[in-house]
Symmetry: C2
Subunit: 298 residues, 2 copies
């Protein structure tokens, strides 16, 4: 069938110098794969197993990197809850189309939190000073400045900086008060970036592997996409901290440093689309439309 070429995804990508207004027409086109293959080892960082949580679902494993540089107290609490095996027997309780999939424990089935807590002061943002942001030049609908820092998409108003709610980002659910969350209940973005949640909720990390297990969860038919019966929920066998797993069960991720020259090339390859399929090279990109490359070291 001839469907295969219908939409180019972007594995064939153009290369341009960092944040130049437009690549010269004779700039050699490198695919995204080529950009990554030709990158120096120093442009990659080993993802700390102390910042990885492994969630075991019936159909496979979801692995999330905690954004400990932005939300250190929530990262510490999530580590403590994972060490206490707090989520063993928890469940996916909500799947709302174009919004979030969410998981946690049922209040009727509590479990000791170990060193963890159920309520924590929010970490909606942090001071901008001292954070090296790889900036995007295109405007953003929600913030004065957007870009990437410590491997995550971020925004800033000049004084404060925060993680942005892009597809695959993970946040700590909360109730009506700012400190009613702690990371014990988590959600992941499965649709158009709900950027109105930025600075309203503590964003704690992003999914590095297994996103496709969460995004296809049947949508719940209750209010806000909650499942109406326990039978609709998907069981979580366990959530473990990478550093507590046996070596053989870990995945050794390397993530492209978002302050590297290679990542600037990745951004430009997303801004200017010079693959043959593109009739219009675009010349713009949104902070939630830039891939954050990750590879697995065997």
């Amino acid at each position: 069938m001839r469907l295969a070429a219908v939409i180019a995804l972007g594995f064939l990508a153009a290369c341009a110098s960092a944040e130049a207004p437009a690549p010269a027409p004779d700039t050699p086109v490198r695919s995204l794969g080529e950009i990554l293959e030709q990158s120096p080892a120093s442009d990659w960082r080993t993802v700390d197993q102390d910042n990885l949580i492994y969630m075991q679902l019936p159909r496979g494993r979801v692995i999330i990197e905690l954004a400990a540089d932005y939300t250190p107290n929530h990262a510490a609490n999530i580590r403590a809850l994972a060490r206490a095996h707090y989520w063993d027997g928890a469940a996916i309780v909500r799947s709302q189309d174009n919004y979030v999939v969410q998981w946690g424990r049922d209040e009727a089935d509590p479990r000791p939190m170990g060193e963890g807590v159920a309520s924590l002061a929010p970490e909606f943002d942090r001071p901008r000073a001292g954070v090296d942001i790889t900036r995007l030049v295109d405007p953003d609908s929600y913030a004065r400045e957007v870009g990437f820092a410590y491997g995550f998409p971020v925004a800033s108003n000049g004084q404060r900086t925060w993680l942005t709610h892009c597809y695959g980002m993970v946040g700590a659910g909360r109730g009506d008060t700012a400190d009613s969350g702690s990371g014990a209940e988590l959600y992941v973005v499965i649709g158009q970036a709900p950027r109105h949640l930025d600075r309203n909720i503590t964003t704690v990390g992003r999914v590095l592997q297994g996103m496709e297990l969460l995004s296809v969860m049947p949508r719940g038919t209750g209010p806000l996409g909650f499942y109406e019966t326990p039978q609709e929920r998907t069981a979580i066998a366990s959530i473990r901290l990478g550093s507590e797993l046996p070596e053989s069960e870990r995945v050794n991720f390397e993530a492209l440093r978002t302050d590297s020259a290679t990542f600037r090339d990745v951004i430009e390859s997303r801004r200017f689309r010079r693959e043959s399929w593109f009739l219009d090279p675009v010349g713009h990109v949104n902070v939630c439309n830039v891939q954050l490359p990750v590879r697995v070291r065997q």
Copy 2:
């Protein structure tokens, strides 16, 4: 369990005067439901059954409105293909996470196209002149001007205007040449808006009902999310034009006019979030984060 209030979605919404910089603190807060309930009947339009296609899947029906004002030739071709029952026995062939779900016929299993064609001149954009766009005041990463026209999200550069690739928008797949699509192969956006496809592909409409049937299709493991075996595909029993269906099988949609005062109130309720859950009222919105209200007339 206490999860239910964790993330407010926005059924409780604030009202503000149209595109004012900020609502006065004492502006009465109306929920989105209240805004819609209090709207005059003249702010709604009956969706033309000649612009509706009904796709029958094993688990339910997907209904798509064609954007005939922007892409009239593709709308006409899709109507012709539906009348020819061209898609009976077609299939969902692709599901790529955070991108698109796509359907069409296998080349090995052709079917007469009736008055329809397999190749059509593109309708990537149209003249801006004469189009009444309800504009958003917030900047956009991709276009000088964004807003809504004829019930759809749109962008413009001042001279030309085009439909934007938001979640739930439907496009006509194409190969490498501009005229290699015709609407015979269609896709729907299931993730972060791939706005780099704007003006590179003809966008033909949006899903009004049944989006949750498409968005949860298991992701394909082949390149670009294509299914690797026929067994993974989901069969399409039929695609029919609304005006060809018996009255009893039609859904009588009313869509909020995007040039109405009520819709301007909807936009402002999305820009300024005054529901009690929101600690920061946001004050911004992206063109792909505004709901386009639709209701069913019983």
